[in-house]
């Protein structure tokens, strides 16, 4: 990569990290910090989906399954079997990675609608398992008593502490994902998105690369799940249902396919807005559907790419009007 664009990327991530670091100081803790923890967790999930959907062009409507598996494995191991939370997190991430690889291998032979249906099925099956294996997961009433993470005797038991913990993972996820998408692997993934046959002709192992990115997407989602379990200290199936997968899809589309920072924007908007408009609560899935339709129709590149275009468009409309007035 050229020096100039590398420096720009570095400045971007540093500014972003500084903003994240300073936020609780200015907001003064409390409820809003709690909400921002969820923005961090959903950002990891949206970025994970974006690597799969935005870069490689492979849809998944079952991301909530990996999120939930990460959360439940971490939760059950610590709450029921008293395993150290960090060890539980590692086990959760490795187990989900293996599961994603094993599922990805056959499932990614499918394309387009068929892949959407298969991943949808995966999400629903896992959701049913969470509900039905009552002895292990506690069923619909959930699993409580999950301990916080701790490091050298410091327990992440306040909102502010958890905020920094979660966002450390989130910033790391963004950094690694930005690097990956600008690399040889990222180019190969985007090549698959545009023309599989041409990518293969040039020596890209399309089959393997798709499975690898699906696995990475699963692993990152499991990290988010484990963080969720240890910060909220309670998990129930409702947090990992079909609507969560759709919500993640909406976040990615709002931010822009392939735009890593866009996924953060999408996650922030979709996490903060419902807090502001509590009246939507029961109709949230309707609102997401409408947002999806409007975005794909009028701003298919997402906000990060679409906003400058919109600004230029508005300026072009407004400027002649101002000139006329003067």
């Amino acid at each position: 990569m050229r020096d100039g664009s590398m420096k720009r990327e570095l400045i971007k991530i540093l500014m972003f990290a500084a903003l994240i670091f300073a936020a609780p100081v200015f907001l003064g803790g409390g409820y809003i910090v709690n909400v921002l923890i969820f923005v961090g967790i959903y950002t990891i999930l949206a970025v994970a989906l974006n690597l799969l959907l935005g870069l490689a062009g492979q849809i998944s409507l079952g991301q909530a399954a990996f999120f939930g598996l990460g959360a439940y494995i971490s939760g059950v191991l610590t709450a029921t079997h008293a395993v150290n939370p960090w060890v539980a997190m590692s086990i959760a991430v490795i187990a989900v990675g293996i599961a994603a690889f094993a599922i990805g291998f056959p499932i990614l032979k499918l394309k387009g609608h068929y892949l959407a249906m298969a991943t949808l099925g995966m999400g629903i099956i896992v959701y049913i398992v969470f509900n039905e294996t009552v002895e292990v997961t506690g069923g619909p009433s959930g699993l409580s008593g999950i301990p916080n993470l701790s490091i050298f005797g410091f327990v992440f038991n306040s909102d502010t502490a958890n905020y920094y913990l979660v966002w450390a993972f989130t910033v790391m996820t963004i950094l690694l994902s930005v690097n990956l998408s600008a690399s040889r692997i990222g180019r190969a993934l985007r090549a698959i998105h545009d023309s599989e046959v041409a990518a293969r002709i040039l020596g890209v192992n399309v089959r393997l690369l798709k499975v690898q990115i699906f696995t990475i997407s699963g692993i990152l989602s499991a990290v988010a799940g484990s963080l969720y379990a240890h910060t909220v200290q309670f998990v129930s199936p409702a947090s990992f249902g079909f609507n969560v997968s759709i919500e993640l899809l909406t976040m990615v589309i709002i931010g822009g396919l392939g735009s890593i920072y866009g996924s953060f924007l999408g996650a922030a908007i979709l996490t903060l807005l419902p807090e502001l408009f509590r009246t939507f609560q029961d109709y949230d899935i309707v609102v997401y559907g409408m947002v999806l339709i409007v975005m794909t129709m009028f701003m298919p590149g997402g906000l990060v790419r679409g906003m400058p275009l919109l600004a230029r468009f508005v300026l072009a409309k407004v400027r002649p009007a101002l000139v006329k007035k003067a």
């Binding site: 990956l180 690399s183 040889r184 046959v197 041409a198 002709i201 040039l202 020596g203 990475i216």
Partner: protein, 250 residues
């Protein structure tokens, strides 16, 4: 270099190719011609691993490569272009060629995500190589343009530059002159000659007779799925069977 031995391909009840054999000599430009429906593109698809033949073998570089997938063939130095050009439309012209260098680089997912020094050095190398291939094809000035916005003729040059970036031993061009005007066709013929001069074997399927007669040293004629003739341009021009196939029986 490349040897096709008794290839037959049957689609359902339709025989697209019937016992076709020919060879491509190293360092040559070999043209494969024939009327529409002769099975030229099917033959290319079999050689490049997109279809499996019903029977027959393909040998390349002394190895039996029948049924090898395209990605494996690319690593062995066999690369092709497509009749309807297959670019990565959302990526820039330069990035397209950088993908061409995929087999010539090896940074994995972890090295890429962590931006290890080895990866950064390799990226630099990939970028420089890609730029030099764009210069080779005469389109370096378009490097930052989105490939999907290229005019057709330039897109064709980009596809060839991208194939060359994979540093093949043999490159198969499927109707490279299709859709080009006479000026662009002339540029193309110069480019193909330069590819040959750099020591790379070329095989091409083409309808443009002028181009084929000008640049090819060997021509294979297919008609209705069978090989009609093989020879130098002069031999082919004087071949009774070929004239009949093209002009119809008088």
């Amino acid at each position: 270099m490349l040897e096709v031995k008794g290839i037959t391909k049957i689609f359902g009840g339709l025989t697209a190719l019937q016992d076709v054999s020919f060879s491509v000599a190293a360092g040559d430009i070999t043209g494969i011609i024939g009327p529409n429906g002769a099975g030229k593109t099917t033959l290319f698809n079999i050689v490049t691993g997109i279809y499996a033949p019903t029977s027959g073998r393909v040998h390349y570089d002394g190895k039996d490569i029948t049924g090898f997938p395209p990605e494996k063939l690319a690593r062995l130095g066999l690369v092709r272009t497509f009749q309807g050009i297959e670019l990565f439309g959302e990526m820039t012209v330069l990035e397209n060629v950088m993908v061409g260098l995929h087999t010539k680089s090896q940074s994995g997912i972890i090295a890429s995500a962590l931006k290890l020094p080895s990866h950064l050095r390799e990226e630099q190398h990939i970028r420089e190589r890609a730029l030099s291939w764009l210069e080779f094809a005469g389109i370096a000035g378009l490097s930052d343009m989105k490939a999907g916005n290229l005019p057709f003729g330039k897109g064709r040059l980009l596809e060839i530059a991208r194939a060359m970036a994979a540093e093949p031993k043999i490159v198969l061009l499927d109707e490279p002159a299709a859709g080009l005007n006479s000026r662009e066709t002339l540029d193309l013929s110069h480019l193909i000659k330069r590819i040959k001069d750099s020591g790379i074997t070329v095989a091409l399927v083409e309808h443009d007779m002028e181009l084929v007669m000008d640049i090819c040293s060997t021509i294979v004629v297919l008609n209705l799925g069978t090989k009609l003739a093989q020879g130098t341009p002069r031999q082919i021009q004087e071949d009774e069977k070929v004239i009949t196939a093209y002009l119809g029986e008088g």
